[in-house]
């Protein structure tokens, strides 16, 4: 028998193994609990609001397209504030773009035009773009989807 076997009995070895196993199991149980708590503080206030970026990222008159909850969303910043619309054209489902110069939302496929309220101005779309609530809290933009 070597020195290790003489100093460490089978009982001690089993004790360490069980204690180590219990510790590992405890950590394993704690991890999902922490990941459950973590997003609430990281992704914004409750009530289905989702943080999509900071105010500085979108200049006045500019826009940004984001994917939230599997939906393509177009966020535009006008002098009145931020507005969010579905980026999917109500005609045939193409992704729409914000024309900063004309201050209009344009569908590149069939020239559907929407104003900055998402209402149809001209072209084939028959319905306005669905809109989403936007909140700005501490310089962060949140939208409700």
């Amino acid at each position: 028998m070597d020195e290790f076997s003489q100093n460490v009995s089978r009982r001690d070895f089993l004790g360490w193994l069980i204690r180590g196993g219990l510790m590992a199991t405890l950590v394993g149980m704690l991890a999902p609990a922490l990941t459950y708590l973590w997003p609430v503080t990281r992704q914004g206030p409750a009530g289905g609001m989702k943080e999509i970026g900071s105010v500085e990222e979108i200049p006045v008159g500019g826009s940004q397209k984001v994917i939230v909850g599997g939906s393509a969303i177009l966020i535009i910043r006008t002098v009145q504030g931020f507005k969010a619309f579905s980026a999917i054209c109500t005609h045939l489902g193409c992704l729409v773009d914000w024309d900063e110069k004309k201050q209009e939302i344009i569908c590149p496929c069939h020239a559907g035009l929407f104003d900055k309220e998402g209402q149809v101005v001209s072209g084939p779309p028959s319905r306005p773009l669905p809109s989403y609530a936007v909140n700005v809290i501490d310089g962060k933009i949140y939208i409700k989807v």
Partner: protein, 406 residues
């Protein structure tokens, strides 16, 4: 419940009072009550337009002779020319129509139409005048779904005359336009899906100024709705012969009343009408067709990959976003093909292909990651088994000590 009863009674009372007042001040109703029944729900009756506004006469006179005295302007049943002028008398008066926000160029436009020219210049009374489309005593606003000129009803209203074979043969016009339109992409969208935004007869031919669009006006007519198609067509090699009147912009390929959904089969059906198979123009068409079909195939495969991955439980939010972009490029190619430029179309094709490849690679990476996560489960299972054995041995050991002690 009580409140509804009170409101109902109030309306009945008002209607009865109005009726009594109308009968009192309008002697026409003494004999022509049936006409009043027709008229009382009309937009004109609601605005206080009465019999004498169109028929002349003096409704304040109780005896028929005085009421219908020619000096009162009594004309009885107006003929078609009179109808155009009577309706136009008010409807071209800006001061009268301003209040209702109605345009005042209907009579001016009617005079430019084939109907108007035939009636007013040729005294042809078989053509349509205001009352043939709008009705006469029971005229409703255009926005009323019961109006014969409500967008959904326009084709049927036009067909009342344009479906009459005997009448149309006199003008050498076909009488089957409605049947053809009914089976077209526009007709199905309007009549079956009730989509009021699609083209009805008046959208292309005009309403009061109804004339068939000429060869050079066709693009402008279709281009009112198909904006990008028209824009790209003007960049194509077909624009020049169209300008020379040799090529009819849209109907050369799509036809007019019977326009069908534009499919890829159109390349084989329409191009060969003018271009010989194997000619450079025909080959360019084939190239465009390959690009269109290829892009649709990429979209279809990418959609399938994303759908399958989603079923497998893979998180595909990013890939769905790329898929939207691919879809946009594919749909964008449809109007762009009117440029007949394979170079421009291939730019979108490449973008669609890149997007589809990106989706494929991304999903493959996620599948690999999932595979490795499953492999990682093996040591975890070994760990659980070892701990279980350790616990069992410890239990036996404790039990052995307990038995020994007792």
């Amino acid at each position: 419940m009580k409140i509804f009863f009170i409101i109902g009674a109030f309306f009945i009372l008002i209607t009865d009072t109005t009726w009594a007042q109308t009968q009192e001040s309008n002697s026409c109703l003494a004999c022509h009550d049936d006409y009043w029944q027709e008229m009382k729900g009309s937009v004109h009756a609601q605005q206080g337009i009465s019999c004498y506004h169109c028929h002349g006469g003096d409704p304040t006179k109780a005896d028929q002779e005085s009421a219908k005295d020619p000096a009162t302007g009594y004309i009885g049943i107006p003929d078609k020319q009179q109808i155009a002028n009577i309706c136009g008398g008010c409807h071209s008066d800006v001061e009268k129509m301003n209040f209702y926000g109605i345009r005042t160029d209907q009579l001016a436009r009617y005079k430019t139409s084939h109907h108007g020219k035939k009636l007013l210049l040729g005294n042809d009374t078989r053509v349509a005048v205001c009352s043939d489309c709008h009705g006469y005593h029971d005229v409703l606003p255009v926005s009323d779904p019961n109006s014969p000129v409500y967008p959904l009803n326009v084709p049927k209203t036009c067909n009342r005359c344009h479906g009459n074979e005997k009448l149309m043969s006199a003008y050498h016009l076909p009488a089957d336009i409605f049947k053809i339109y009914q089976n077209s992409v526009h007709g199905k969208a309007l009549l079956e899906k009730k989509d009021l935004s699609v083209a009805n007869c008046a959208s292309c031919h005009g309403s009061h100024g109804a004339v068939p669009p000429g060869v050079k006006d066709l693009g402008a007519t279709c281009g009112k709705c198909h904006i990008n198609e028209k824009k790209y067509f003007l960049e194509s090699v077909h624009a020049k012969p169209m300008g020379q009147g040799k090529f009819s912009e849209c109907i050369s390929c799509h036809s007019n009343h019977g326009v069908q959904p534009a499919t890829e089969a159109l390349f084989q059906q329409a191009c060969v009408k003018c271009h010989e198979a194997g000619s450079p123009a025909f080959k360019e068409g084939e190239k465009i067709l390959r690009l269109l079909s290829g892009a649709k195939e990429h979209l279809s495969k990418a959609s399938g990959i994303v759908r399958q991955a989603s079923i497998e439980g893979i998180f595909v939010e990013d890939e769905e976003a790329i898929l939207e972009e691919v879809k946009t490029h594919v749909v964008e190619m449809e109007p762009l093909q009117h440029t007949l430029s394979s170079e421009k179309i291939s730019q979108l094709y490449e973008k669609a292909q890149q997007g589809a490849d990106e989706i494929k690679n991304s999903i493959n990476e996620k599948r690999q990651s999932l595979k490795w996560r499953k492999i990682t489960l093996i040591p975890l299972w070994i760990f659980i088994v070892v701990i279980s054995i350790a616990l069992l041995l410890r239990f036996k050991e404790l039990k052995h000590h307990k038995d020994k002690g007792s």
